[in-house]
Subunit: 378 residues, 2 copies
Amino acid sequence: MTQTVITGSGLYTPPNSATNEELVAAFNKHVDLYNQKHAAEIEAGDLEALQYSSEAFIEKASGIKSRYFVDASGILDPERMIPNANEGTWVEDKTKMSQMIMAIEASEKAMEEAGLQPEDIDLIVFSSTIMQQHVPSMAITLQSILGTKGFAYDTQMACSSATFGLAQAESFIKSGMAKRALVVTAEYLSPLMNYKDRDSHFIFGDVGVATIVEREDLMKGNKGFRMVSSRLHTELSENITAYWSFVSRLTPEKIDDSYLYFKQEGRKVFKELLPMVIGLIGDHLEENDLAASDLKRMWLHQANINMNLFAAKKLLGRDPSFEEAPTVLEEYGNTGGAGCIIAFDKYHDDFKAGEKGILCSFGAGYSIGSVVVEYIKK
Amino acid sequence: MTQTVITGSGLYTPPNSATNEELVAAFNKHVDLYNQKHAAEIEAGDLEALQYSSEAFIEKASGIKSRYFVDASGILDPERMIPNANEGTWVEDKTKMSQMIMAIEASEKAMEEAGLQPEDIDLIVFSSTIMQQHVPSMAITLQSILGTKGFAYDTQMACSSATFGLAQAESFIKSGMAKRALVVTAEYLSPLMNYKDRDSHFIFGDVGVATIVEREDLMKGNKGFRMVSSRLHTELSENITAYWSFVSRLTPEKIDDSYLYFKQEGRKVFKELLPMVIGLIGDHLEENDLAASDLKRMWLHQANINMNLFAAKKLLGRDPSFEEAPTVLEEYGNTGGAGCIIAFDKYHDDFKAGEKGILCSFGAGYSIGSVVVEYIKK
């Protein structure tokens, strides 16, 4: 059967960021304002006082020290606590649209690494948690901006957006409907968050990543990561939710309802999802006659440091080195479907022909995407 | 290579509808209210008076006589002119969610026709213009409700949602990652419309459709439509738009801005898109050594009667019979990505082994999806 190869990747990092210190300062000021405003009810025992967040709590719970945002000013404003609209929110020139800016730069870098021109590409899979524009789609708009050929479509898979996008590209190439694909995961997550929620206000950052998948016999360059085997799995959980959708138009009075935005039962996720992930990766490796120790690297989903280390340790049977399971959490935070590709983008230049690795996403849905790759050089 | 077969389809029709007469009555009352309210400005020449709609205009422009809605009461309320929220808008029991109700019934009918149980299915492609829930996804939620296996994901392609979904299912089966897929297009479009716009208030209806795609050698039944060849194409146009997205949260003051909701430059679409469609279908048939006259049926996108007849006539070189290019526009209106599957669902029982047809979508994006099928019986 046709082989497919990942021949390029690209990363876009937004220009704004927030450290734990900055985020905690804004959050705690919000807590003060809230508690002052509701002092009487709190005093009377009718309302619970909000509790401070802290840098120590955040770092212990997540390993995250900072994250990037399309807009940090609104998030860091204790009177607002959601991103401000900016010149990329509603804009006629689509190259200036916030999520598109991420997609364009990541795509251009990925094409450059693969040695491709836009017209070499005949498929764009724009695979992200959520889209800034629906009609026309993000994918077709990007196709027009870059000048790629063929077809382009949007798809969504939350934390597994990139791996599911890779598997879709692989499938379209194997079915003969495409030859070279650009897979884009532009995670513009900040407008979906609840920055007033102590348990989750620190988790996510915005980021864009892209990869190129080519039919191996048509590769323009001479090296890449052959997609040896891909496996996808989903199983419903309501422990990670963001219910907000277009029906919000029908109920504008609910626009600030915390029910609609990101919520997570972190402990349940840890307890339920990790065994599934470890089981699935273990099975997937076994099917390919591999052990975790045969892998040079695991580019794992970047959810939080404890999950990442737990998963890598269980699979290896010992503590992983940074080279075996690199993390980007400290700097980027959890970036939804993009996390494993940031790790891949930053840490893949040291591979030699025949060395293997695994890209693995896991999270909301639940969803798990696992892609075993082997470095090839012609 | 592995062959894939469409072995079932299903249709869900919402319980509420609106005739042209009802829609025009509400629209014209809205016009009266607006013109009365702004009488002074209109009189002074500072504002243009709104114009009435009419049943004759609608029928001539579109061929549509009625359409179905999740909620008609809000649309037919001249003081509101958008759907009302109802018990399916925000609901904990996901089987009662408006878009999910459509998906469940259509899916069950499709599985029944294919003779499948939910556990036979290992892939759900939930392919619709827009989703009522993002995290967890519509697809994974449906997977859990039905009890299907494997994986499930959401994808969006406006007017070509169903054909792009079919091609994705086909590709995943051909790549070996799935064996039997359920492709769901639940078009809950009414909350994205601008019912105050005379040029478009009558176009769309809500509806749900589903199809089953199986690997031919694993078919449980003994008949179906083999997917002979699929072709997808996209090319950017801003002549059909619905810009509304999750960044709306950042600008709640814009919630009623007509810029955000469905708009169409109908004449430009007719002029630009139809030649692309006719060219693409013509090429696609030629590649498969077929002429339009070799097809028993063309299940075309249901946009409006003039586009449908124009396309069918150009391809055949003569006027099509209803059997050759059936329309469902009169009753259902334009149903976005679901249209060609409604036509397929209603008109496919008379096929004999070896007879061929084409499923073709075209519209927003622009996007075109073309699937040549051949009826097989074992």
